[in-house]
């Protein structure tokens, strides 16, 4: 096979810069894949395997090299990025080293093929990880510029993600590499070539990615898509650029999903609560034109998916996850179950003016963001301060263990008791908890 580098070649480096100890030689072990800009190889450098991206001749440009150097110096915004680690040069050409992608991460578009499925909690994990990663990238003043299926990998077991192809990342407002993105993910102004990709277009692309992860259909591929015979660039420019219409636009209903062609959209749309719908409606109506105010920030997505996660209950009959909604006759969605569900026990937490309803399942945890502050950082905010526990003597007796460093005080029938760190209070009806920074009340 014709590749840029012959397998087995040892690259004696003429120059190398980055965070790794200076490698003298890189041995090219195997070919991993090719893309629009270059090829990726598995290589050996000082006893450890890495991925090496090597560019086509037409992309061996100073601007790209300078950008890579800057990215390496800046360092990865989070562990979810396969960030460039070392710039390597050989024979007047260059490439860069990064960590290899582990096998447990699957290509994200396999979701659309239904090769793997996520549950509500895994959808939340994926969405929270994505939003958190891009938030951390954006607060460094950078923009990704090409969010799309090909660059995102998902671990279907735990919802962790990996973001690849990070060499196009550039400061917000800079487009030195000249990438525009991938049709179907680009914001309308980028499709129409009115704007180069930046943080605002990233926010649009992120919403498109999230929409497809949740609803397994494209937000603009409705009836109009189905009626187009030839899906060429003209058609794409129209549907994604000059005349995008959201398939669930509450006002303009002309582009609803077509029955028999886009069935997923409606099926999965109905699986999610109103607050999630509203996020997408906002981006895909107001946000089409209003870049600054119509596109949700990652913090907004993090809050939306935290709320979703708090409303997951487990069907006692079959074990499926169901979204709890107040004031509704609840039923399990499982095809062979459809059990009527009694309202689950919930904890109402008040933190300042903010009130949250947290469904209590055997594995529920109380997180830092729920009890102390509106921590936008998903990782820091997700440090647990409490967890559901079962009494060792009586399995029917449940409580919440204090994992924080401060004692909580619990009041029931005018009697107040302290729950020191490491101990649990029992979930008896009428109990009210003072978490010091927040207050809680059990709803049964």
């Amino acid at each position: 096979m014709n590749t840029l580098i012959k397998i087995g070649t040892t690259l004696n480096l003429t120059s190398s810069s980055g965070v790794l100890t200076q490698p003298q030689a890189v041995i090219v072990k195997s070919f991993i894949g090719g893309g629009g800009q270059g090829e990726v190889y598995k290589v050996l450098a000082y006893g450890k395997e890495y991925a090496l991206k090597w560019y086509f001749k037409r992309n061996q440009k100073k601007a790209l090299k300078d950008n890579l150097k800057a990215l390496i110096k800046l360092g990865s915004p989070s562990e979810n990025f396969l960030w460039p680690k070392q710039l390597v040069e050989h024979g007047g050409q260059f490439g860069y080293l990064m960590e290899l992608r582990q096998e447990n991460y699957k290509k994200s578009q396999k979701l659309m093929e239904r090769e793997f499925s996520l549950s509500y909690s895994l959808v939340c994990n994926v969405a929270l990880n994505l939003a958190d990663s891009f938030r951390k990238l954006h607060v460094k003043g950078l923009s990704y510029q090409d969010i799309s299926w090909g660059n995102i990998f998902i671990d279907p077991e735990d919802g962790k993600i990996l973001i690849c192809d990070n060499d196009n990342i550039a400061p917000h407002g800079s487009n030195t590499i000249g990438i525009s993105g991938t049709y179907g993910f680009m914001a309308p102004e980028v499709v129409l070539n009115e704007q180069k990709p930046d943080q605002y277009s990233d926010l649009f692309s992120l919403a498109i990615l999230l929409f497809q992860i949740l609803f397994l259909e494209h937000p603009f591929n409705g009836r109009r898509w189905a009626n187009i015979a030839c899906w060429d660039d003209y058609a794409k420019k129209k549907l994604y650029g000059s005349e995008p219409i959201f398939i669930f636009d509450p006002v303009n209903k002309e582009n609803r999903p077509m029955i028999g062609v886009q069935d997923n959209a409606k099926i999965f749309w109905n699986m999610y609560p109103r607050h999630i719908h509203e996020c997408f409606i906002n981006v895909f109506t107001k946000g089409l034109k209003n870049r600054e105010n119509g596109r949700l920030l990652e913090e907004d997505w993090i809050e939306a998916f935290r709320v979703l996660r708090e409303s997951i209950m487990i069907c006692p009959a079959c074990g499926r996850e169901v979204i709890f909604k107040e004031k509704e006759g609840l039923k399990c969605w499982g095809k062979n179950c459809e059990a009527e569900l009694p309202p689950p026990p919930r904890l109402k937490i008040k933190l300042g003016k903010r009130e949250r309803i947290i469904v209590l399942n055997p594995n529920t945890k109380l997180y830092t963001y729920q009890l102390t502050s509106h921590e936008p950082d998903f990782i820091k905010g997700d440090i647990p301060l409490g967890e559901m526990v079962q009494s060792p003597e009586n399995p029917n007796k449940w409580g919440i263990r204090n994992l924080s460093k401060e004692p909580w005080s619990c009041t029931r029938k005018d009697e107040t008791k302290e729950t020191p760190p490491g101990k649990a209070f029992v979930l008896n009806s009428g109990i009210k908890i003072n978490f010091k920074t927040a207050t809680g009340e059990l709803i049964i």
């Binding site: 014709n2 590749t3 840029l4 580098i5 012959k6 087995g8 070649t9 040892t10 690259l11 090219v28 894949g33 629009g36 086509f56 001749k57 037409r58 050989h90 050409q93 290509k107 578009q109 396999k110 659309m112 093929e113 239904r114 793997f116 499925s117 996520l118 549950s119 895994l122 299926w149 090909g150 990438i179 525009s180 991938t182 049709y183 680009m186 980028v190 070539n193 397994l216 259909e217 494209h218 189905a226 187009i228 015979a229 030839c230 899906w231 060429d232 660039d233 003209y234 794409k236 886009q262 069935d263 997923n264 099926i267 999965f268 699986m271 074990g319 996850e321 969605w333 499982g334 095809k335």
Partner: protein, 233 residues
């Protein structure tokens, strides 16, 4: 427990790739052997490309033309495709090939929803029949106009003017002229694999065509390889 029991996979559009190969006498020997080898070498990367694309279902088909034109393989989904070597005989009836191609691109045969088909015409000479008539029939079909039409000239005797007329966008993407076996392989792979990727998953550019094609394969010296030893056609 995930959502695997509800909904289905997303709807796909067909992406059809056609190889139209000149099998006249002058193609005998290394040229036809190289074409056979190149198409075979496209199968694995095309399968990879199809696997990475949830929006398209990829089909391939080969036509041979010499004395008249005939389909050499059935329209086959890429995962089931097997190659049978082409052999040579007779003239270069490119006009007949284009007429046969036109029939394949009718609205009925292309179905309700598809991606622009990719038609790769390969020839080392010039038509011995009514080329203009055939081209006219092809372009009379709506899908013929929408198709990504790429021409590969094999060797210096190919009629470039004639092949240019076939190309969708001869200014931006004129016929690729292959003087060496290695070039021919690279061009066939580019036209099949890279072009099909961009048809279904294009990245925006400034082209006015209905499909923005990727940059042409460039002459690149493989790092760590011996000198290029292949013959000139």
């Amino acid at each position: 427990m995930g959502f695997d029991e509800i909904g289905g996979a997303v709807s796909k559009r067909s992406l059809k790739i056609y190889w139209l190969v000149d099998t006249s006498h002058s193609m005998a020997g290394e040229k036809i052997a190289t074409v056979n080898r190149a198409i075979k070498a496209c199968i694995a990367p095309l399968r990879d490309a199809a696997e990475d694309n949830h929006e398209a279902k990829m089909f391939v088909r080969t036509m041979k033309f010499s004395v008249g034109a005939a389909w050499h393989t059935e329209e086959t989904e890429i995962n089931d495709f097997e190659w049978y070597d082409l052999s040579v005989n007779g003239y270069t009836e490119t006009g007949a090939a284009l007429r046969l191609m036109a029939k394949e691109l009718s609205m009925e045969k292309m179905g309700e929803r598809a991606l622009p088909p990719v038609i790769i015409l390969m020839s080392d000479g010039e038509a011995t029949d009514d080329y203009e008539g055939g081209l006219k029939e092809l372009l009379a079909e709506r899908w013929g106009q929408k198709a990504v039409r790429i021409a590969i000239a094999i060797g210096e005797d190919a009629n470039i003017t004639e092949l240019s007329k076939f190309c969708s966008n001869p200014t931006e993407n004129p016929p690729l002229v292959a003087d060496r076996a290695s070039e021919l392989i690279a061009f066939i792979k580019w036209a099949s694999v890279e072009v099909s990727k961009s048809v279904s998953h294009s990245v925006i550019g400034t082209s006015n065509s209905n499909v923005q094609l990727p940059p042409h394969p460039e002459k690149q010296v493989m790092i760590g390889a011996e000198d290029d030893e292949d013959d000139i056609f």
